[in-house]
Structure formats: C-alpha cells, structure tokens
C-alpha cells in the first residue's frame, strides 16, 4: 500500500478509491438491494386487500409458481428452453466461423471480413428485429420466394415450434440479433492459439477432428464459455425482439415483467426480474464449471 501511495500520491489514491466506491455503491449494490427489497415484499395493493402480509415474504413470486394459472410459468419455461436451444445452435454455427477467422483467413481478408461482421453488430437490435419482421410478413419476401418455388407460405408469426413453444419468427430473430456475440469471444480466444501448435499436430499425423478436440477447443474454452453466457443472457433478457416478432402467443418472460410494471406492480416485476437474474447467474456458474474457467478468463 505504501508503494502505491508513493506512486500516486494522496489525491491519486483518493480518486481511485472514490470512483470505485461510488461505482459499486450507487450503480451496482444499492439498486440491487432495492430490487431484492421490492421483490421480497408484497405490493401495496395486495396488502390493502389483505391477501398478503406486510413484511418479507415470497408473495410477489407467487404467480410464477401458481398451479392454477400456469401462464407465467409456461412463459418462463419457454424463455429458458428457447434461449438454451438457441445458445447451443449458435455455438455450433459460429464455431467454424470463428475458427476460420482466427486461424485460416489471411490478414488481408481478415480485416475485410471483420468489417462485414462489425457493421451488423453495430446496428441497433431494434432495426435487426424490424428487418426480419418485414421479411417474414405474410406477403413478405420470404413467402414470395417460397411461393415462387412452389412451397406453401409459412405463417412465421403463428407457427409454433414443438417443445420450445416459440414461433419461428421469434426463433430466427433472436438468433439473428445476437449471433455475433457468440462469434467474437470465440474468435478472440482462438486468435491467441499459436498456429504452430496446429501445424505440429497435423505434421504428427492428427486428423482435423482430433486437432480440434485436443488442441483448439481446450484453448478456446474461455471464449466458448463467454460466448454461451452472453448469448443465453441476451436471449433470455431480450425485450424488443419478442415484442416485434413474438406474435400473439409467443410471450416472453421479459414481457411478463413489463406487464407487471404496466399495472404498477413494482414488487411483482422486481420478483420476476430477480428470478431471471438468478437463472442467468446459475447459467454463468454452470458454464464456468463445465468449461473449467474462472471469471477473469471470461471477461473479454
């Protein structure tokens, strides 16, 4: 500590500490404690009606686990399942892309390709969802093409995928919106792999499958974990994409939160938000355990 004092002087240390403390307290800790506080209390309306008690309790979480009305629970399940499936799908789709960019593409092409990827990445998610809404409209381009090729037009907004219970438009829209968040972390992780290692393995006779399994994937694990976490979190927490593409029956959990807020049930909304956050936290920890990475490895 004394060496730092010598390096930075008293004002320097004050600045550093001050900014960190303000950041943690005002922006992270206290709002979070408030969220917890609201989530574990019942909303004033229910208290007035006598259905709920005033102190700490699980009342606000109730509707989610209500056996009589499972709408909230089904929404929750749909959100988690779909996000999970999308994450896995995105992982499989993006792995070859990330590998190609990191190890195969020449420097000249790499820069051009990265530009091509960064432009959609920087475009607003609202616009990205809107683009698909236009494409998938009943008389939209996709259905036109389908008709021209002789297929029946698809009701993208009404056709629910089995098990997932989410419609196609939403499924495709979510993938499209967030897939680049899977590519970049994996790319970053793979880039640091020394190409010589791969060449050495090939030289010693390893097949491509083995090279990937034994060399590339272990090295890229932090990137894979990071990509999966971000992908899942963005899908599960996505709001505008389900609003624009969800249609009538693919209700998303974030929309359930909003509907609580729209009737001023801050407590109910907080409770749901907390549940969502807990799920994401569990997912992060599972990823960290499965891939055996630490927090420092994940943060890009």
């Amino acid at each position: 500590m004394t060496e730092s004092l010598a390096r930075f002087g008293r004002t320097g240390i004050a600045f550093i500490f001050g900014s960190v403390v303000i950041w943690i307290l005002l922006l992270i800790l206290i709002p979070h404690i408030m969220l917890l506080d609201y989530a574990f209390h019942a909303n004033p309306g229910a208290i007035k009606k006598g259905i709920a008690s005033e102190g700490l309790g699980f009342y606000s979480f109730g509707p989610l686990f209500d056996p009589q009305d499972d709408l909230a629970f089904r929404t929750f399940l749909r959100t988690l399942l779909t996000s999970g499936v999308i994450t896995i799908l995105a992982l499989m789709v993006c792995y070859p892309i990330a590998y190609y960019l990191a190890k195969v593409a020449t420097a000249k092409w790499l820069h051009i390709l990265m530009l091509c990827l960064l432009v959609p990445f920087w475009v607003n998610e609202v616009l990205r969802a809107y683009a698909w809404r236009t494409l998938m409209a009943k008389q939209g381009l996709l259905n036109q093409l389908a008709a021209a090729l002789g297929f029946t037009p698809v009701e993208y907004f009404n056709y629910e995928l089995p098990i997932l219970d989410a419609n196609i438009a939403l499924f495709v829209g979510l993938i499209y919106s967030y897939i680049l968040f899977m590519v970049f972390p994996m790319f970053n992780a793979m880039e640091s792999l020394d190409r010589n290692q791969i060449e050495a393995a090939r030289d010693l006779g390893a097949s491509w499958a083995r090279v990937h399994r034994k060399i590339v994937i272990p090295h890229a694990k932090p990137g894979i974990a990071s990509g999966c976490i971000v992908m899942f979190m963005l899908c599960a927490g996505s709001f505008i994409v389900p609003v624009l593409l969800g249609g009538k029956s693919s209700f998303w959990f974030t929309q359930a939160i909003e509907s609580q807020f729209s009737v001023l049930n801050w407590n109910g909304g907080s409770a749901y938000a907390l549940v969502l956050e807990l799920v994401c936290l569990v997912f992060v920890m599972v990823m960290m355990w499965v891939f055996r990475v630490t927090l420092r490895d994940i943060a890009r």
């Binding site: 390096r7 930075f8 240390i13 709002p31 920087w122 616009l127 809107y130 381009l141 927490g237 624009l244």
Partner: protein, 291 residues
C-alpha cells in the same frame, strides 16, 4: 493441395459466404425499402422515391429522441471512462486484498440481463428516492455495465504498461503526479479512444436497459421501436438507411486509419534496422539490400 483438403477449404468458404449473406442481406433489404414509393414497407411495385427521407426529417419526435440519446451517450461516455479508469487502476496498480472479489463485483453488470439493470436503477431512483425517472436514470443504468466494458479495455492496456517507464520518470525528477499525467495517461490514450467509441456505441444503440430505466422519455432507439410497434411507413426504413450507412462509413474510416498506422510502423522498423547495421560496421549503407 490434396483433394479432401481443398474440398474442406472451399466448403468452409461457402459456409462463410452464406453466413455473411444471412447477416447482411436483411440490412440491405431494410435499406432498399426506404426508396420505395409505397405506403407500407415492401419491395413490390417498386417506384423510386426520396420522399420518405423527407418524412423522417420532418418528424420532430425523432429529433427529440436523437437529442436524448446523444445527451445520454455523452454523459455515459464521460462517467464510464472516469469510473472505468479508477476501477482499472485499482485492480492493476494498487496493492489491496480482495482483488478477485472487487473484480467480480465490478464486472457483474455485464453478466446481468439488461432488463434487470434498468429495473433496479428505476426502482431505486424513482420509487425509493422519489425522483422522476428520465434521461439521467437511463444514463446511470447504462453506466453500470458500460463502465465495466471500459474498465476491461483499460485493464488490458495497463497490464501491458512497462512500469519501468514510471520509474524512469521518477528517477529523472518528476513527482508521482507528474509521472501520472505525463507518462501513464498519454500511454492510455489509444485505450481512451477505443473505450469512448465503444461506450458511445453501446449507449446509443441500447434498448432494453434504457427502456426500463427511462420512464416516460424516449431515446432514438425507443422512438424507432415505438414507430415499428405502432404501424409502419417506410419512413422508419429511411432512418434505418441513414443509420446503417453511417455505420458503414465509420467502419471504413476506421479501417483506412488502421492501415495507415500499420504501414507507418512497418517503415519505421525497417529504417531502425538499417541504422543498427550501419553502426555495427558490418555493412556500409550502399550495401544494404533494399526490399
């Protein structure tokens, strides 16, 4: 090249092309529709027009939303850089215990869903403290995770900092404050620039966190979303066209700048190598082979 290897290579390239097409096509379609003289956004019966750009330009609410977004973005950039720098310095340069915990806490907003950040900020400031939620609550909510991104950029840059440079500064007579302002901060300049760019971008295009924290006000992104929800004319596409075109322009400009810097660095290294060879007396200048 062996046959299966070549096949593999070309199939990956085709895969990549399909992927890129999948990413880029919807955007271009979006932009194309801005020019069609039709009541709803569609490509059918295409008649070229620029009138939708005019319609968008005339929409006052769009300008209001743009102003709010820029205001929030500027505040977020400044706050995020200051806080991010403090966090980075604390984690990299200070000797304190519990660094792992500190790191986890500061980085946690990145791993939390945006809706939770927006809600918690809203609940705290609007419900508990009692102030009306508006652009500044959105700014605070965004800062919680954007500052973390900035911090990560600063940490990466700081870790590569050669601390003997600071020792040299001290040794030559500078006090710690002078060392910080003249040696450490200038080194951070590239990191400041990329952090500012990243922060601005993330703030400007953020939807979910902002929506839940801002209360009744509108940012640019919220404006667009509302327009899309309500019922759409190609005016939205006109706006989209401008946005995407601006993004492409910025990306190209950044690339040009990067190429210039790279070639300058290459030339400088070549000159330096030549000078050393001369000093060593191994070769006379005329004998140095040119590339």
């Amino acid at each position: 090249m062996k046959y299966p290897d070549a096949l593999l290579k070309w199939s990956i390239r085709a895969y990549l092309a399909v992927f890129l097409g999948y990413l880029l096509f919807p955007l271009f379609y979006l932009m194309l529709l801005a020019f069609n003289n039709s009541r709803i956004p569609t490509h059918r019966d295409f008649h070229f027009t620029l009138s939708w750009f005019g319609a968008a330009w005339a929409d006052q609410r769009m300008w209001d939303g743009l102003y709010t977004s820029l205001l929030i973005a500027v505040v977020v950039v400044v706050l995020s850089i200051v806080l991010g720098l403090g966090g980075a310095l604390a984690l990299v340069r200070l000797e304190i215990r519990g660094k792992s915990l500190l790191y986890a806490v500061l980085v946690s907003p990145i791993l939390a869903p945006g809706i939770v950040l927006g809600i918690s900020t809203f609940i705290f400031w609007s419900q508990q403290v009692g102030l009306r939620a508006s652009w500044w609550t959105a700014a605070l909510a965004q800062t919680s995770f954007i500052a973390a991104y900035c911090m990560l950029i600063f940490i990466a840059r700081l870790q590569r900092f050669d601390t003997t440079l600071e020792e040299a500064g001290l040794d030559l007579g500078a006090n710690p404050r002078q060392v910080f302002w003249r040696i450490t901060l200038p080194y951070m300049r590239p990191a400041f620039l990329s952090a500012a760019g990243l922060a601005f971008l993330q703030s400007f295009e953020n939807y979910t966190t902002t929506y839940f924290a801002i209360g009744a006000e509108q940012t640019f992104a919220i404006f667009i979303a509302n327009k899309v929800r309500q019922g759409v004319t190609p005016a939205v596409n006109a706006v989209a066209f401008v946005l995407v075109a601006a993004t492409i322009a910025v990306a190209i400009a950044a690339e040009i700048r990067r190429r210039g810097a790279a070639s300058r660095a290459l030339e400088a290294a070549r000159l330096a190598q030549q000078a050393d060879v001369e000093i060593a007396g191994a070769l006379r200048p005329q004998e140095v082979p040119s590339r």
